[in-house]
C-alpha cells in the first residue's frame, strides 16, 4: 500500500482588493476576505497568463460591476491537516494565485445571487499593453530597463523584481539600443530582453523573476498512479507526426558570455517552418552543440511525442508532496497500476498473456501484447505538466486536472 495521505482538509480563502468608484468620481479602496462559493485557477506555461475564476455569494460580497474601478485578487488554498484548523491569509505558502480582475459579473436568478470574477495573473495586463516607446536604451542594468517598461502599466509601478543576471544587455549585444518588433506588448519586450542574457521571465505570484532556466530534476517529480489516487488518465500519441516545427535551442555560453543559438532544420534549407524555442541553462555551449541537440530532439520528437492528462482529487502525491502547487513545467511520474488481479492492470506479464490466450488470441499475439504493455512504461513514464487546472468549491472540495507531455532526453 502506498504511503499517501487518505484524509485531506481542503480550505480556500480569497482576498479582494477593490477600488470602488462613486458617481462623483471618487475612488475608495477596500479589502475583503471571504470564502468563495467556488474558485478555479489554471497554471499555464510562461508564454501565457495564468487564469482564474472566482464565484462569491452576493449576500456576502455585494460587488456591483458598475461600481468596480479595479480589483486585485489573491487565492489561498491548502490542506489544513485537520478539522479544527482554519486557513489563514498569513500562511504565504498557501497563496496560489495573484492577479487582476478582467471582468466582474453579477448574476441574479432563482438559484441564487452571485458575483463572478474572471482574472489573469500579472502577465495579463502586460500582454494587453502595447509598447509604444520605440527603441530602448540598454546600456544600463536590466532592472533599470525593467522598471521603465513596467511604468507603462500603472499597477506595476513598484513591482518586486528578482533578477539573477542584472548586467546591461548592451554588454552582450554590443549596441546601446534594443529595438523590439513593431506592435509587440510590454510583456514581449520584458521576455525578449531577458532572452538576450539567456534568461526567462516569469511571475512567481507578485514577484517578477528573471533567471536562467534550470534543468528539471526527476528527483523532484511528483508520483501519481492510476489505480491509487488518479481517477482518470489518458495517453495519446500521433502516429502521423507532421515534422513542421523547427527546433531552436538558445543558451548563455559562460566562456564568451554571449547567447548562442542552434536550430534544426537549418534556415538555409529555405523551408519556412514554425519554430519551437527552448532556453537551456548557462554552460559551455557552442552553436554546433546546440544544432546537434536540436537535431536529436527534432528526430526523436517525431517518434516519441506522447501527450495525455490525468484527474485527481488528492492534494498530495504518493510521497505526500503537495499537488496544489503543481504548475506548468513541473514533472510527474504517471503510472497505471491496479491492486486488483481481476483487472488487466493488476496482472503480471505472464498472467496477462494467459488471460489474452484464454480470450481467443493466438499465443504469439497474446505474448506480444502483454510484453508491449508491461514494457511501455520504459518508453515514457516521466512527463512534464503543460497545464494544471486547480479547482475548489464549498460542496465538492478540491480537484486537479493536468495536461501532460512526455520528457524527451537530449543526452
Amino acid at each position: 500500500m502506498s504511503g499517501r495521505k487518505t484524509y485531506h482538509y481542503p480550505r480556500t480563502v480569497v482576498v479582494l482588493q477593490v477600488s470602488l468608484l462613486a458617481p462623483t468620481g471618487e475612488l475608495t479602496e477596500i479589502d475583503v476576505t471571504t470564502i468563495p462559493i467556488s474558485v478555479e485557477w489554471t497554471r499555464n506555461d510562461i508564454n501565457e497568463a495564468d487564469e482564474a475564476s472566482i464565484v462569491v455569494d452576493w449576500s456576502e460580497v455585494p460587488l456591483d460591476p458598475r461600481a468596480v474601478s479595479d480589483c486585485r485578487v489573491v487565492i489561498y488554498c491548502a490542506d489544513v491537516g485537520s478539522e479544527d484548523r482554519a486557513l489563514s491569509i498569513a500562511d504565504e505558502a498557501a497563496a496560489r494565485f495573484i492577479g487582476f480582475v478582467d471582468e466582474p459579473e453579477v448574476s441574479f436568478d432563482e438559484s441564487g445571487e452571485t458575483v463572478t470574477l474572471a482574472c489573469r495573473d500579472y502577465t495579463g495586463r502586460l500582454i494587453d499593453t502595447k509598447w509604444r516607446g520605440g527603441s530602448i536604451r540598454v546600456d544600463r542594468p536590466l532592472s533599470e530597463v525593467y522598471r521603465e517598461l513596467l511604468a507603462e502599466a500603472p499597477p506595476y509601478v513598484g513591482t518586486e523584481l528578482r533578477i539573477e543576471d542584472d548586467r546591461a544587455v548592451a554588454g552582450v549585444t554590443g549596441r546601446k539600443l534594443w529595438t523590439p518588433p513593431s506592435g509587440v506588448s510590454v510583456w514581449d519586450c520584458l521576455v525578449g530582453l531577458a532572452k538576450e542574457l539567456g534568461q526567462t521571465a516569469r511571475w512567481e505570484l507578485g514577484t517578477l523573476v528573471v533567471a536562467t532556466p534550470t534543468t528539471p530534476s526527476a528527483a523532484d517529480a511528483r508520483l501519481v498512479v492510476y489505480g491509487d489516487q488518479v481517477e482518470r488518465m489518458t495517453l495519446r500519441r500521433s502516429l502521423n507526426p507532421v515534422a513542421n516545427k523547427r527546433i531552436v535551442f538558445r543558451a548563455l555560453d559562460t566562456s564568451s558570455r554571449k547567447v548562442v543559438e542552434g536550430q534544426w532544420p537549418a534556415t538555409s534549407e529555405g523551408v519556412k517552418r514554425d519554430e519551437v524555442a527552448y532556453s537551456l541553462p548557462a554552460g559551455d555551449w557552442s552553436p554546433k552543440t546546440l544544432v546537434d541537440r536540436a537535431k536529436h530532439v527534432y528526430t526523436t520528437w517525431m517518434r516519441r511525442q506522447v501527450q495525455g492528462s490525468f484527474d485527481t482529487v488528492a492534494m498530495s502525491d504518493l510521497d505526500s508532496a503537495d499537488l496544489v502547487s503543481l504548475a506548468s513545467g513541473d514533472q510527474v511520474y504517471l503510472q497505471a497500476r491496479s491492486y486488483d488481479p481481476a483487472r488487466v492492470l493488476g496482472k503480471s506479464r505472464g498472467e496477462l498473456a494467459s488471460y489474452l490466450r484464454d480470450h481467443g488470441l493466438a499465443p504469439t499475439t497474446a505474448n506480444a501484447l502483454a510484453s508491449a504493455w508491461v514494457g511501455s512504461e520504459d518508453l515514457a513514464s516521466l512527463f512534464y505538466v503543460v497545464r494544471a487546472r486547480h479547482s475548489w468549491s464549498r460542496d465538492a472540495g478540491y480537484k486537479l486536472a493536468a495536461d501532460i507531455g512526455n520528457v524527451i532526453g537530449v543526452s
Binding site: M1, T6, Y7, H8, Y9, P10, E83, Y226, G227, D228, Q229, V230, E231, T312, V313, A314, M315, R337, S338, Y339, D340, R343, L345, G346, R394, D395, A396, G397, Y398
Partner: protein, 180 residues
C-alpha cells in the same frame, strides 16, 4: 423550569417562549453531519477523502397548541413565529440549560384540527452551536431586576413566599411586561 425560547438576535427581537403544554412533543433530535467527499479511484485499495466540515443537522419540532392548555392565544403564537420566519433574521434557540443555537427558522406549518387545537411543525436550521459555559450559566442564574411591585399590582396581592417564584417566572419571561 423547562423553557424553549426562540428569539431574534436583531431587529425587533421578537421572542417566543414555550413551556408546559406549549412545548414540542418528545423526539426532538439535535445532531450533526460531517460533510465530506469520498472518491474511490478505479483499482484503488483506499479512497481519497476530503473532509469539508461539520454541519449541524436540521432540527424539527412538532407539537400541538390548544386554547385550554396554552399559555398564549394560539393565533398570537402563530403570527409571532410566522413573522420570525418572514424576517429571516438570525434566531437564538435556547432550551433550558441543554444547549444554545443560533440559526434560522426555515419552515413553520400550523395545521388547525379545530378552532381550539392546532398542530404545528417548525424546522430550525442551526448555523452555530454554542455550549453554555459556566460563566454563561451563572449569568442566566443571576436574579433579574424585577419590578415585583408592578407584578404584584398586575396579579393582585401576593404572599411573600411567592415573590421568589415571581422572580423565577420573570427570568423565563413568562409574565408579559416584565423583561428580566
Amino acid at each position: 423550569m423547562d423553557v424553549l425560547s426562540l428569539e431574534q438576535t436583531s431587529g425587533r427581537r421578537r421572542r417566543v417562549q414555550l413551556l408546559d403544554a406549549d412545548l414540542p412533543d418528545e423526539g426532538v433530535e439535535s445532531g450533526a453531519e460531517l460533510r465530506r467527499t469520498t472518491s474511490w479511484a478505479p483499482g484503488a485499495e483506499r479512497p481519497v477523502v476530503q473532509v469539508l466540515g461539520r454541519q449541524p443537522a436540521l432540527m424539527t419540532f412538532q407539537g400541538q397548541w390548544t386554547t385550554q392548555g396554552s399559555n398564549y392565544e394560539i393565533l398570537t403564537l402563530i403570527r409571532t413565529v410566522e413573522a420570525i420566519l418572514a424576517e429571516a433574521r438570525p434566531v437564538r434557540l435556547l432550551w433550558g440549560d441543554r444547549w444554545e443555537r443560533v440559526g434560522l427558522v426555515v419552515r413553520f406549518v400550523p395545521s388547525w384540527l379545530d378552532a381550539d387545537r392546532c398542530d404545528w411543525t417548525l424546522e430550525y436550521e442551526p448555523h452555530a452551536t454554542e455550549q453554555l459555559t459556566n460563566a454563561a450559566l451563572r449569568r442566566r442564574a443571576r436574579m433579574p431586576r424585577v419590578d415585583v411591585s408592578a407584578a404584584a399590582a398586575a396579579l393582585g396581592a401576593v404572599a411573600a413566599a411567592e415573590l421568589i417564584t415571581l422572580r423565577q417566572v420573570a427570568l423565563a419571561g413568562w409574565i408579559s411586561g416584565i423583561d428580566p
